[in-house]
């Protein structure tokens, strides 16, 4: 709304050294950590209590997941480069790298889709076993985060990038903040991958 100027939107508050959005996103990430913490805790408790627990690699497709890991890690580095390009005032390069991130996200989802459909094809639904249930829940929730991150990045790539002309510092801050979220999605996958596929 018009009128009130909220301080520390683009320049940091001297005593804390932070802009509002930076603190806000880290708090949000903290809550995300606890969200996945709840699910991981469920995983641990169910696994410890189970009589038998299948080794992930016997059911799931490790090569595809490895590929997905590489894709997500790559998307993280393009995210960093996109932000760095903005700091260097190179908007076109920012867009290019941002396309790269979005593309990686899309590849990730396509591979996920292939994995899911091959499971369904073999009649492996979440109701099959506790392992399949936690696999679908964890990767599904992670997939929703990927989609969410892609929506934010698309916004910053197209309609939201108008802000670059008017408030470049604030826009750079937004990209940085979106990047933090994207890295978290990567981070979660880094743990999901061994937990579900390798052990």
């Amino acid at each position: 709304m018009s009128g009130v100027e909220i301080p520390y939107v683009s320049s940091p508050r001297p005593d804390t050294g932070l802009v509002n959005a930076k603190l806000g996103i880290w708090l949000f990430l903290a809550s995300e950590v606890m969200l996945f913490g709840g699910l991981f805790s469920a995983y641990v408790l169910l696994r410890v209590g189970a009589d038998v627990w299948p080794e992930g690699s016997t059911i799931l497709n490790v090569p595809l997941a490895t590929l997905n890991t590489v894709v997500l890690i790559s998307s993280s580095i393009t995210m960093v480069l996109a932000w760095a390009s903005l700091v260097r005032l190179d908007f076109n390069k920012y867009r290019l790298y941002n396309y790269g991130t979005l593309l990686c996200g899309a590849i990730f989802l396509v591979i996920k889709y292939i994995e899911y459909s091959s499971k369904f094809h073999h009649g492996l639904y979440p109701s099959e076993s506790t392992f399949m249930a936690i696999y679908f829940t964890l990767t599904g929730l992670h997939g929703i985060h990927v989609i969410g991150g892609m929506l934010v990045l698309s916004y910053l790539c197209w309609p939201g990038s108008k802000m670059w002309k008017t408030e470049p510092i604030r826009f750079t801050g937004r990209v940085e903040v979106a990047g933090l979220f994207w890295h978290l999605v990567d981070l979660v996958w880094i743990f999901l991958f061994p937990v579900l596929y390798l052990m």
Binding site: M1, G3, I6, L18, S31, L46, T130
Partner: protein, 592 residues
């Protein structure tokens, strides 16, 4: 202040991003749900006192069961009473409304750090609330497995009620998370010049700690809600053990899940949640007691440290709700010990408030009366937590009315009284008019008497061993016809008559609230005009006009001293506001 272009009504009052408007939206929504939840309980109390008898006047609502409340309806109402009161009543009012309206003013901010997220937070609550309300119109009715929604019962519940509950909870959780992020960021980033952490009014501290609890405790419940949704919609067995036999049929599930898992994830949230219900109340009470005793709060610093410690410890006591699920000695000892430890900071905070009164000049206006009554009421509630926290004593008391009595003493004559006090106290700031004192005092006396008449008998029933969640209030355990042959010992028989007393008192409590509602509506238009600082108070919100305009203060504002500088020796006035130079030299030592 510069003049703004007029905004259309819906931008100004509906989709507003002004923290004050959002605060009022929260208050009205929370107030509505409190009333609604209380309405459910008045019906349930009828059933407890007069099981199977048609409800007077409202019998048409229950035509299927001949006007009486059936056990099934009772269970749905019970689950929804708990859910509504906790997540849609007290949290929106204590955290959402008071936090939104008062917190930015008290730290000298122009608005919340993220106004749009703030509005989104309110609307998430609204959607969640609507989903919960919608579930009342489902053919099988809303959720009926208690506010705790323990599986397998909740998992295998027929009808969509439990699914609505879970989806509604996801929205309510989202709302609280967004709110929490906003509150923490605002408190850390938008404090006015000179407002150091140790100069924050205690209410701001309590809201800050509350926000941290919500931020870190709610997500695991969200995770649990997803798991239960999977169980219900995708036929997984996260919470279903192998070999369940439901109504004679072996259930068609993969099994291998754990019902206890839900309890861990639920109580990981729900214990911090109960402190979410009480901490803002403690903050409100502290503000009012300081103002109306005209002296600084005793031991402000130790209160702040206790508060932080309490917040931290609230994450490691949760399994005291699970003592009798089959815990071994080691973990049991661990949770008993943490539970006893967490009672200490509460004792310290309450002692500080009691001692603060010593040497004061007490003004007994309505907000002060509610705030003072809060102390012993919270005291009773808190003290009755101790036998529950000692697991060996809890064996007898668990899931009896003693537990119900314990927590209602903290949330009803505790938190609700603090909320009433807060409404009477900040009403002049919000509307520019005072509330009526006579009506206020009637409301106070009536509420105090009837709250105690509702909740004290619960302790007696609980000690006798009467269980909670019984639609007939325990009559099945005392009825000679039902207790198949005579000669069985009934622990309930002697205390059953208390049900009627509690029911009548609950209705009387409802009638007393009418005085409050009349007062509320009447005072908006007809109340005595209030100045900026009607209570001669010291904190920052009283520097703003009543009601504050867009952007809150007349101009830049700075802070010069501690929050509660009342009756400073040598000063002529008995209050030295934070926003004016002056006050006790001690309080100005710390610089920015």
């Amino acid at each position: 202040m510069e003049h703004h272009e007029e905004l259309p009504f819906w931008r100004k009052y509906i989709l507003s991003t002004d923290h004050k408007v959002i605060g009022i939206q929260y208050a009205l929504t929370g107030g509505f749900f409190l009333f609604f939840g209380f309405g459910l309980m008045m019906l349930m109390r009828w059933s407890m006192a007069f099981p199977d008898q048609p409800v007077p006047y409202l019998g048409f609502l229950f035509s299927e069961s001949g006007g009486a409340i059936s056990p099934n309806t009772y269970n749905t109402f019970g689950a929804m009473h708990g859910t509504i009161m906790v997540f849609m009543g007290v949290v929106p009012l204590a955290f959402g409304a008071f936090g939104n309206y008062v917190l930015p003013l008290q730290i000298g901010a122009v608005d919340m750090a993220f106004p749009k997220i703030n509005a989104a937070s309110y609307w998430a609550l609204f959607v969640g609330g609507m989903i919960m309300l919608a579930s009342f119109f489902l053919p099988e009715g809303p959720a009926k497995s208690g506010w705790t929604s323990y599986p397998p019962l909740a998992d295998i519940d027929v009808g969509a009620g439990q699914t609505y509950w879970l989806i509604g909870m996801v929205f309510l959780i989202t709302s609280s998370l967004l709110g929490a992020i906003n509150f923490i960021t605002t408190t850390i980033q938008l404090r006015a010049k000179g407002m150091t952490f140790m100069r924050l009014p205690f209410l701001v501290w309590t809201q800050l700690v509350t926000a941290i609890l919500l931020l870190l405790a709610f997500p695991p419940l969200e995770a649990a809600a997803f798991l239960q949704l999977m169980d219900r919609l995708a036929d997984t067995s996260f919470f279903l053990a192998t070999g369940l036999v439901v109504s004679g049929q072996v259930a068609d599930i993969s099994g291998g899940g754990s019902p206890i898992l839900w309890q861990h994830l639920f109580w990981f949230l729900a214990h911090p949640e109960v402190y979410v219900l009480i901490l803002p109340a403690l903050g409100i009470v502290t503000e009012i007691i300081a103002t109306n005793s005209r002296k600084p709060i005793f031991g402000y610093k130790s209160m702040v440290y206790s508060l932080i410690f309490l917040g931290f410890m609230s994450f490691v006591v949760w399994a005291h709700h699970m003592f009798i699920t089959g815990m071994g000695t080691t973990m049991n000892a661990f949770f008993q010990t943490t539970t006893m430890i967490i009672s200490i900071p509460s004792v310290i905070i309450l002692s500080c408030l009691f001692i603060s009164l010593w040497g004061g000049s007490l003004r007994f206006n309505t907000p002060m009366l509610f705030a003072l009554a809060f102390l012993p009421m919270f005291g009773i509630g808190g003290l009755t937590g101790l036998p529950l926290g000692l697991s060996s004593a809890d064996i007898h008391l668990h899931d009896t009315y003693y537990v119900i009595g314990h927590f209602h003493y903290v949330v009803a004559p505790g938190t609700l009284f603090a909320l009433f006090a807060g409404i009477y106290y900040w009403f002049p700031k919000i509307t520019g008019r005072m509330m009526n004192e006579v009506l206020g005092k009637i409301h106070f006396v009536g509420s105090l008497i009837f709250m105690n008449l509702v909740f004290f008998p619960m302790m007696i029933q609980g000690l006798a061993g009467v269980n909670r969640r019984l639609y007939d209030g325990g009559a099945s355990y005392a009825d000679p016809a039902a207790v198949i042959d005579p000669g069985f010992y009934s622990h309930v028989a002697n205390v059953l008559h208390l049900n009627k007393l509690m029911t009548y008192s609950a209705w009387a409590l409802g009638i007393v609230q009418i005085f409050f509602l009349i007062n509320l509506v009447w005072s908006i238009k007809k109340g005595k005009k209030a100045s900026r600082n009607p209570w001669n108070s010291t904190t920052l919100e009283w520097a703003a006009p009543s009601p504050p305009g867009h952007g809150n203060f007349d101009g830049p504002i700075a802070v010069y001293g501690n929050p509660y500088e009342y009756s400073v020796p040598g000063e002529e006035r008995d209050f030295s506001p934070q926003f004016e130079p002056g006050g006790h030299p001690q309080s100005q030592k710390e610089e920015i």
